[in-house]
């Protein structure tokens, strides 16, 4: 199987974002290497995200009538988005592979839903945030502020509070 994402713990491809500076993303030989400029241990969500992407990459198909392999550029776009918006305490998203080879990310906690798609083949790049009955959407490169509005609700430690009438 091709190597889609470089992962290591002892070399330059170590996943790690817990530093003041943003991570450096290097695309070489069609392998995505996520590494931190200063080292540091990876955040809680990194391992599960990479593991899931590798799992999806290994699937022969995701639709009974035809689907494309996981698209390298869509994976890179999704990872760039995660690097920008994820906090160390953010729950990892559920990750899906679209039939086009695109990537879907989704979070669902209580009445908060976030869904993001990265699909260059269909020119579909969109982040949707839903809170209760209200819905907003932005392209991923402009969705940091939108995501930040619900980041607390997507934290691992967030506990739903009972509503009072």
């Amino acid at each position: 199987m091709r190597q889609l994402i470089g992962v290591g713990v002892d070399d330059a491809s170590t996943l790690g974002w817990e530093t003041a500076e943003p991570p450096e993303q290097v695309l070489t030989d069609r392998t995505i290497r996520l590494r931190d400029r200063k080292g540091g241990s990876p955040p809680a969500w990194a391992a599960s995200v990479v593991s899931r992407l590798e799992e999806l990459d290994a699937l022969p198909a995701v639709d009974p009538r035809g689907s494309r392999p996981l698209d390298f550029d869509d994976v890179a776009d999704a990872l760039r988005f995660l690097v920008r918006v994820m906090r160390p305490d953010t729950c990892p998203p559920w990750i899906g592979r679209l039939n086009t080879g695109g990537v879907q990310l989704s979070w669902h906690h209580g009445d908060v839903e976030v869904e993001a798609v990265f699909d260059r083949l269909r020119d579909e790049l969109e982040v949707i945030v839903v809170v209760g009955d209200r819905e907003w959407s932005e392209p991923p490169d402009k969705a940091e502020t939108l995501f930040a509005t619900v980041a607390d609700r997507l934290a691992l430690a967030y506990v739903e509070q009972p509503t009072t009438s």
């Binding site: 639709d63 009538r65 559920w94 899906g96 579909e124």
Partner: protein, 132 residues
């Protein structure tokens, strides 16, 4: 009429021990051959299943695409009325050699529409393999 969509576990999130299909489960197939439409979502047509005395619960076992691992596939149901009148989709009878009840739900399906299809759909049968 009802239509039935095969859904693999890779398009489902495990929540509280149950499979929950995600919006990507209601996506158009990517054409494998020149000339095929890129706006078709494969389904089984309920009226044809009835004519053939078949049940939607058996689709994961019947479908050749699922033969390798039928336990990894579930079946969701959607109403054709919803697809035609609320989502502007076209329902086509496209019998195949390996599935005489085959149909296609033709039309664009962007993220917002896929989300509405997800909201509308219900499980007939979840994948037999329980979530880890």
């Amino acid at each position: 009429m009802l239509v039935y969509r095969l859904i693999p576990t890779c398009n489902c999130q495990a929540i509280d021990g149950e499979w929950e299909f995600q919006s990507g489960a209601f996506d158009n197939a990517s054409p494998m051959n020149p000339g095929e439409s890129s706006e078709d979502m494969s389904v089984a047509l309920g009226d044809m299943l009835a004519v053939l005395s078949r049940f939607p619960e058996s689709l994961p076992i019947d479908a050749p695409a699922c033969a390798a691992n039928p336990d990894d596939w579930g079946v969701a149901v959607l109403a054709s009325r919803f697809l035609l009148h609320e989502e502007s989709q076209e329902l086509r009878r496209t019998p195949q050699d390996d599935e005489p009840a085959h149909g296609d739900v033709r039309g664009k399906k962007n993220l917002k529409r896929r989300r509405r299809l997800k909201k509308h759909a219900n499980w007939v049968v979840q994948p037999a393999r329980p979530p880890d």
